[in-house]
Structure formats: structure tokens, C-alpha cells
């Protein structure tokens, strides 16, 4: 009746016909509504399968299905930004597949490995590497001939040169280096040490997995939580810029320490900075002056600024990461407020998060969505998907970011980052940090986070060296090596 012809028997009375027609109208209406919902459901299932499913299926809980796929597909290669092979699968004469990492331990955490567990791009792109986007007929023909299909190639934003430079510059020390393109959000290099050789992951697995002292499996760049030390003064300065009527009016006389309401803060190694304004307080990284600044900040507003900078919450990190933490809200105690202001106390941050904040400052306040996978190609090099850069969001105003850029430039010109000064290749800006992490106040993690060129920033570099002492002495030279390589 719905689609077919309508016939009517003769003996129906007019009344009956009317009645029937009336409720048939309602039945038809309900039929159309339900049919529409069926169609929408089908549309949704297509949308889910074609688009949404990709982000779901790449999950460690779905490893069983990844295994099933790997019986039919040869895991595809992982490429650097210029197409250099960072990981590939070779099949030997006996048909055994071997995963090869030509750069060995250089990309241990960024490209990762695929074994009992998987990390890095190998983990993030697991199902992409196990998909074979060649045409259906070729796939069927391969199946018929018992040939395994070749998996897609995953193209990353990683730069072999920068990664190698950062890797060598960090040397044998524990720590991490993150290099990001501030305009695109591309992660150019990501180093974590101690490292391991992913080529022999199966042999060394038990050893490194149980090594809780050095924890070589931990990707310190994204999962290492460190006290930010003086690099957090970027956040404190931002809050001060927001609150103060004119930060230029600020003056402070540093006698090597700050004391208020029973809280005492010392400058690094007890140094006396003397007469300071806001800019020189930042450049010389004066703890006493920043303790003084923090003491007058509004805790609720400070907390909001921290949340704007993605503390205590999610960060747009493609790798698995830990959440940075700061205790800052209207109930925060006075002592913690002062400690937080200089990046100590109960404050912890991951290097990649610091790199994101730095990128946003360098990119006029806007954070580009950090990415490491930029595209997928099939085995013949035809592009299947490309992931362009997109904005994550504005973390601060344009004015605030410019102010911070000026402060950070002054760190290089007149402050603790002077080891970046004497070069004609680029003008760098940044902030050092020497973060105390134990009862022994003489020990500190060396931090540097910065960007270059100052006038039109392109890259951000974040460095941490565990127990490296002074940021200016230990971390800055590593950043310098990366900048030199990029701008040479």
C-alpha cells in the first residue's frame, strides 16, 4: 500500500473509508518517521566505519584484532618528514618478519617499538600500519596467491637531523628534549634518555621492563613529571602581567632571600641580585623577587591562568602522557602560593607540556595542535590521508604573548640564557630553570625552554637534564646545539 497501487472495494461505506484514511494517515506518518530513523542509523554506521572507527580501534585493548590483521598484512614502514625510513619490516628467506629500526636508539621513544607492549608512533599508528590501502582487486589477487598485503606507510613530522643533534647533545645524561614547529604544531624531535635499542627489544625486554632505577621505557618527554623550577616564572609573569596595572613600575631590592609570614625563599645559590625591575627579575631569574610578586597575586585568578595553560587537565599530546599538576586555587595556602610562584612546591610538569606553552607564546598566544603523524601513504606512495595543522586554541592574548616574548628575549640578552647570545644565525629567546627536587638543595634539574627567531618564531625547544644543576650552564648548550643545527 505504501508503494503499490491503491484499490478500493466497492462495498465500503463512505464513513468507514474516511475513518480508515484518517488513521492510515497517522500510520503512514509513523512509518515515515521510523524509516527516516532507520536511514539515519545506516548513515551513522557508514560514518562510524569510514571516519570515526579509526580513533577507536587503535587501543591496547584491541591488540587481539591487531594480531589477526598482522597475519594478513606486512606491517608498513614509518618515515621521517623527508621520507627517510625510521622503521620497516623485512621478511627473511624463511618468511619470518623482522622489524628494523635503522637509527637504533635515536628514535627509541619517538618512533617506539612494537613487541610485548608498544609505544611511540608504532603504538599510535598501529592500525594504520596494519591497513593496506591498495585497490580491492590487487588485494584479492594477493590473497588468492597467498601473498601478504603490504601495509600503509606512516609519514611523521620527525626530522632525522634535529633528532640526531638533540640525541647527541643530551649525551649520556638522563633527561628529554622536545622540538616543535610553533606555526604547525609538528613535533620535529623528541628525545628521552636513558634509551634502548628497539632492534633488540625482544632480547632486552625483561631487563628494561624491570629496570625501575633508570626506567628506560619511560618516555620522559611526555610522561616524565618534573618540578618546573624557574621556567614556571613564565606562568607567574603572565599572571602578573594580567593583574598589575603597570608591570613596568615594579621595583625590588634583592638581598638573596625573601621572607614573609614564616615563609623563606632563597635565590639560587644564595645570590644577591640587588636592585631589580620586573624585566630583570625575570632575566636574572630572581627567586626572591618572584616570591615577592607571587605574594600579591590573586590565587583564584592565578589558578585560572594555570588551567588556561592546561595544568591539571588534558593536553593535546599525540603520545601517551602524564597530567601536569599545580596546586593553585582560592584555598591554596600562602606558603604554597609563594612556592608555586617560583615553580617549586607541589608543582609538576612534563617537558612536552612546557614545549606547548612555549610554542603558544612564540605563536602569538595560539597553540597549534601538536602532531607527529602527518600522513598515510599506501605501499606505492599514493597519499591516503594527510593530517594538516590545525589550531588547538588561544592560551593567552596577543599582547600577553608579546610581553612574554620580550621578557624571554631579555633572558638571553641580559640574563641566565646568555649562552645563546653570541650567534649571528638567529636571535633566540627563552627561560632557564634549575629545579630543586630533593631535600638536598644543592641538587637541581636543569631546564631550558625557548624559541627562535625572536622576531618571527619558527621552532620551540624544551630541554631538561635530570640532576643537571644550573639550567643556564647545562640545558642551554643543548638547546643551542638544536638551534644551531636548525638555522645553519
Amino acid at each position: 500500500m505504501l508503494f503499490g497501487k491503491k484499490h478500493r472495494s466497492e462495498d465500503e461505506t463512505a464513513k468507514e473509508r474516511q475513518d480508515m484514511n484518517r488513521s492510515n494517515r497517522e500510520i503512514l506518518f509513523v512509518t515515515y518517521i521510523f524509516t527516516a530513523v532507520f536511514v539515519i542509523l545506516i548513515g551513522y554506521v557508514i560514518y562510524f566505519t569510514a571516519i570515526r572507527s579509526e580513533s577507536f580501534i587503535n587501543n591496547p585493548y584491541n591488540n587481539k584484532r591487531a594480531q589477526l590483521l598482522s597475519q594478513k598484512v606486512v606491517r608498513g614502514p614509518i618515515l621521517s618528514r623527508d621520507g627517510t625510513v625510521l622503521a620497516k619490516t623485512d621478511t627473511d628467506a624463511d618468511g619470518n618478519e623482522i622489524r628494523i629500526y635503522p637509527y637504533g636508539s635515536v628514535f627509541a621513544h619517538s618512533v617506539g617499538f612494537f613487541s610485548q607492549a608498544s609505544i611511540g608512533v608504532e603504538a599510535i599508528a598501529n592500525f594504520k600500519l596494519l591497513s593496506s590501502d591498495i585497490n580491492t582487486f590487487e588485494r584479492i589477487s594477493n590473497d588468492l596467491n597467498g601473498i601478504k598485503n603490504k601495509g600503509d606507510q606512516v609519514v611523521t613530522s620527525l626530522d632525522v637531523g634535529l633528532q640526531t643533534t638533540a640525541y647527541s647533545a643530551l649525551g649520556d645524561r638522563k633527561g628529554a628534549v622536545v622540538v616543535m614547529n610553533v606555526k604547525t604544531g609538528e613535533i620535529l624531535a623528541l628525545v628521552s634518555k636513558p634509551d634502548f635499542d628497539p632492534n633488540s627489544i625482544d632480547e632486552i625486554w625483561d631487563l628494561i621492563n624491570s629496570d625501575t632505577v633508570k626506567s628506560p621505557l619511560l618516555n620522559r618527554a611526555t610522561q616524565g613529571l618534573y618540578p618546573p623550577g624557574s621556567t614556571f616564572k613564565i606562568v607567574t609573569a603572565l599572571e602578573y602581567i594580567k593583574e598589575a596595572t603597570d608591570p613596568g613600575d615594579y621595583v625590588f631590592d634583592c638581598s638573596g632571600s625573601f621572607e614573609s609570614k614564616g615563609v623563606r625563599i632563597n635565590c639560587y645559590h644564595g645570590q644577591k641580585h640587588g636592585e631589580l625591575d620586573f624585566e630583570t627579575s625575570f632575566a636574572k631569574s630572581c627567586n626572591s623577587s618572584f616570591a615577592n610578586i607571587s605574594s600579591g597575586l590573586d590565587k583564584r585568578s592565578f589558578g585560572q591562568t594555570c588551567r588556561d595553560l592546561m595544568f591539571n587537565g588534558d593536553i593535546p599530546c599525540p603520545y601517551s602522557y602524564k597530567t601536569s599538576y599545580v596546586d593553585m586555587n582560592k584555598n591554596t595556602e600562602y606558603g604554597q602560593l609563594i612556592q608555586a610562584g617560583i615553580g617549586q612546591g607541589r608543582t609538576q610538569i612534563t617537558p612536552i607540556h612546557m614545549a606547548m606553552i612555549t610554542s603558544a607564546i612564540a605563536n602569538k598566544g595560539i597553540l597549534m595542535h601538536p602532531i607527529v603523524i602527518t600522513g598515510v601513504k599506501n605501499t606505492y606512495g599514493q597519499t591516503i590521508k594527510s593530517y594538516g595543522s590545525k589550531e588547538y586554541g588561544r592560551l593567552m592574548s596577543g599582547y600577553e604573548s608579546r610581553y612574554l616574548r620580550e621578557l624571554m628575549r631579555d633572558v638571553v640578552l641580559n640574563g641566565t640564557g646568555s649562552r645563546l647570545k653570541d650567534t649571528s644565525l638567529y636571535e633566540a629567546a627563552g627561560k632557564t630553570g634549575s629545579a630543586e627536587y630533593s631535600q638536598d638543595k644543592s641538587k637541581s634539574h636543569a631546564w631550558f625552554t625557548g624559541f627562535a627567531p625572536y622576531n618571527d618564531p619558527e621552532i620551540a625547544v624544551t630541554v631538561i637534564v635530570e640532576g643537571g644543576g644550573s639550567g643556564g650552564e647545562t640545558a642551554v648548550p643543548i638547546a643551542r646545539a638544536v638551534f644551531d643545527d636548525y638555522f645553519q
Partner: protein, 438 residues
């Protein structure tokens, strides 16, 4: 030969299923009945081919002789069912008979793959149910005074649901089953059918001006008893069925609007009142982050569908057993994983064609009681399909209902077959009364 067959079978199954599905809809366009018969026979052949190929693949992969026995038993049953229906009720809708067999075939294929003993148990219940299904049209033809017993139906429904609430023990937080003589009955499944009869009777036969009030009260008690037993899927289905039956009986759009608004209010109330509803909403909004708990089942279902993709992993090449309760509520995910999402979409379309056919039949009656029964059962069926498939694909929150005729479950398969047979019975009576196809 062996590899060629296994490789191509996946695509052949999708192709055959697509043709079957297209024919489900093309019959509506043919007014000439004799031409329709040709389509029905082609559908039967396609169905037999799909069944044969699927079981051959599974046999080649597993070398389990029991599969062949199950294949033979079920295939003979389907042929016998189709032949007997044609012989006993030449006026019956052949499309519905075919679809019943197609849906059961898909069910047996995937059940045999997932859990052979459950497939066997399903077969034994299906066999009994098919006998009942063959008798129901005859009973409906003989007992035309069924409509007078609407109060009895309502009372029976309320007593059954009340008994479940009081006597049964909760499984996974919900009270669903009651055991009588060693057999476990899920009362809400059976109540669905008599509920439709009682409401249809009240709305079409009662002379009282308060018929709407009485019907609403009866429906309200049913829904509240189900909600109290925490059988939310059942409660939601009966609620919607009542609202739509009321709308059709009165023609008042206001009831439709009020009903929809009521559904929204009840959903919010359900969310506030029941912790297990909140758990399901969490699993719905973000299954992956709650994968260690509430979201596990949902996430596994999405993994299955997503990994299988449009063409599927191939029969016995996936990992559908990783989804908890895969044979019952999540059977659609297993079908998508191994036979492909394209196959799954065809399955949705076959279900939709059943629904449209039900509504089509409802429109043929002059008699309001039959109209309401047919439309009520149609909505019961259509809504249940939408709930279960929408639920497992994360289109809507999960309600935990089965896919009629496909899912494993003694009560589910029996009630679904009875539901289809009731509609067939009504169709047979209207067509034989009119003598010809109208």
C-alpha cells in the same frame, strides 16, 4: 580452489545479501502478484546459497562435522517452514516468511561460529516456536472475539510483570526472568505481545469516554513495573508503543508530542534515579576512557565493527568472542566484524523492510482493533531493532535488548516468531475475507 573459495566467499556473501535486500524493496513496486512470486523464489535461492556458502566456509576452517549436521537440520527446517506456510496459508505474505528465514539464517550462521552449543539450543527452541508460528494464523482466524478480552490481557501482563518483580532474583542488577517448571521465562518479552492486544482492545472497543485514561493507566502500570525491575529496554519499548498506538487511535498529534516529551522527562528521571542508567550513559559518551569498567563491552563492540570495516574480517577470522554477551545483545557487532558492515547495513534494511511490511499490513484493515494490533507490533519490532543496533554502534545509549530472530535467546526467538506469526495471521484473515489482494 580452497583458498580461492575462502578468499572470495566474503565478497560473494555481501553481494548475495545485497541482492536479497534490494529484492525486499523491489517487491513493493510490483503490483502484479504473479511477478512478485518470481522474486520470492529468487530470494529463497539466494538465501539457501548464503547459508550454504557460510557453513561451507566454517566447515573448511574448522573441519567440525557437527556444523554440517546443524546445517542440514536448520536448512531442512527452513525449507519445510516455507513450504508449509505456502501450503497452509497461500494468502500469507511471502516476503515476511522469507525475511523470517533470512534473519534466522544469519542468526544461526553467526551463532554456529560463536558458540555451537548455543546454536543447537537455539535450534531446538526455534523448532518448537516454528510449530507455534504455523498454528497461530489458524487460531487468529478462528477466534475473532479476542478483542473482548482486553482487560484480561492487561491483568495478565501486570500480574506477570509483578510476579517477576517480586519473585525473581536480579541478574546484573535487572530482574528479568521467572522460572516455571525449570524453564526460565523472560516475562517482559511475552508481555510485549499481550500488551499490544490489551491496549488495542481498550482503544478500539471501550465505549467509555474514559478509555484513554484507562488505557494510559494500564500502560503506565506496565511501564512502571518494568522500570522497577530495572528492565529499561522493555520499559522504553512499551512506553513508545503505547504513545504511538494512542496517536494512531485518536489521530491527535498532541498525544504524540506529549508522549515524546514524556519520554524525555522519563529518560532524565531514569538517569537521576538509577545508577545503572548512569553507568550506561558513561559507557555511551566515552567508552574508551572507562574501558576498564563500564565502557568495556561498548568499546569491544566498536573495536569489532571498526576493525571489521565495510567488508569484514571474514567468517572465523575475527575476534568477536571478546565482546561480552556477544551472542545476544551484541550479535550485530559480531556480524559486522566478520561478515562486514556492508552486510550489516543490508541486515538493517531487511529489518526495515519487515517493519514497513507490518505497517503496510496495518493500513489494509478497516477494523481499528486489527489496525492497532498490527501497528503496535510493528512499532514494537521496529523500535527494538533500532534500540539494539543503535545501542551496539554507539548511536544511542545501550538498552540491552535483543535483535529479533537473529540474537541468541530462547524467549527472544520464540516471542519474535509469535509476533511475526500474529501479523501473518491478521494479514491472512483480511486477505481471505476480501478474497483478493486489495
Amino acid at each position: 580452489m580452497y583458498t580461492i573459495f575462502l578468499t572470495l566467499s566474503k565478497y560473494i556473501l555481501i553481494f548475495l545479501m545485497a541482492i536479497y535486500t534490494i529484492q525486499c524493496f523491489s517487491v513493493f513496486r510490483l503490483p502484479d502478484i504473479s511477478k512478485r512470486d518470481g522474486i520470492y523464489i529468487r530470494q529463497d535461492i539466494i538465501m539457501a546459497l548464503i547459508y550454504l556458502i557460510a557453513f561451507t566456509v566454517m566447515y573448511l576452517r574448522s573441519a567440525d562435522t557437527w556444523l554440517l549436521i546443524l546445517y542440514a537440520l536448520t536448512q531442512v527446517t527452513f525449507v519445510a517452514f516455507i513450504m508449509l506456510y505456502r501450503f497452509l496459508y497461500p494468502e500469507a505474505s511471502k516476503l515476511l516468511v522469507n525475511n523470517m528465514c533470512m534473519l534466522m539464517s544469519i542468526g544461526f550462521i553467526i551463532l554456529a561460529r560463536l558458540n555451537f552449543s548455543k546454536a543447537l539450543k537455539q535450534f531446538s527452541v526455534a523448532l518448537v516456536s516454528i510449530v507455534i508460528a504455523l498454528v497461530i494464523p489458524y487460531i487468529l482466524k478462528r477466534f475473532k472475539r479476542l478483542r473482548r478480552f482486553y482487560m484480561l490481557f492487561a491483568a495478565a501482563g501486570i500480574i506477570a510483570l509483578g510476579a517477576v518483580l517480586i519473585f525473581s532474583t536480579a541478574v546484573n542488577g535487572s530482574k528479568l526472568n521467572i522460572r516455571i517448571g525449570g524453564v526460565s521465562f523472560q516475562a517482559s518479552e511475552f508481555v510485549k505481545i499481550i500488551f499490544v492486544f490489551s491496549i488495542a482492545g481498550m482503544l478500539s472497543c471501550m465505549k467509555s469516554g474514559y478509555r484513554i485514561v484507562i488505557a494510559t493507566a494500564a500502560a503506565g502500570i506496565h511501564v512502571m513495573l518494568l522500570a522497577a525491575s530495572k528492565d529499561l529496554g522493555g520499559a522504553v519499548i512499551l512506553f513508545i508503543v503505547y504513545v504511538i498506538m494512542l496517536f494512531i487511535a485518536t489521530g491527535k498529534f498532541l498525544y504524540f508530542i506529549l508522549g515524546t516529551a514524556g519520554a524525555v522527562v522519563c529518560s532524565i528521571a531514569g538517569y537521576m534515579l538509577f545508577p545503572h542508567v548512569r553507568v550506561r550513559i558513561t559507557a555511551f559518551t566515552d567508552p574508551v576512557s572507562s574501558i576498564d569498567g563500564a565502557g568495556y563491552q561498548m568499546a569491544q563492540s566498536l573495536f569489532a565493527i571498526g576493525t571489521g570495516g565495510f567488508e569484514g574480517m571474514g567468517l572465523m577470522d575475527g575476534a568477536p568472542s571478546r565482546i561480552p554477551v556477544v551472542e545476544a545483545d551484541f550479535i550485530f557487532s559480531a556480524i559486522c566484524e566478520e561478515l562486514g558492515v556492508l552486510f550489516g547495513i543490508c541486515l538493517i534494511l531487511v529489518c526495515a523492510s519487515c517493519f514497513i511490511m507490518f505497517m503496510n499490513i496495518a493500513m489494509r484493515f478497516n477494523d481499528m482493533f486489527y489496525k492497532l494490533v498490527a501497528a503496535g507490533l510493528a512499532v514494537t519490532y521496529g523500535f527494538q531493532v533500532l534500540l539494539t543496533i543503535g545501542g551496539v554502534t554507539k548511536f544511542i545509549p545501550l538498552t540491552g535488548v535483543t535483535l529479533p530472530l537473529v540474537s541468541y535467546g530462547s524467549n527472544s526467538i520464540m516471542v519474535s516468531l509469535i509476533m511475526f506469526s500474529v501479523i501473518q495471521g491478521l494479514y491472512v484473515s483480511v486477505r481471505s475475507a476480501n478474497g483478493t489482494e486489495r
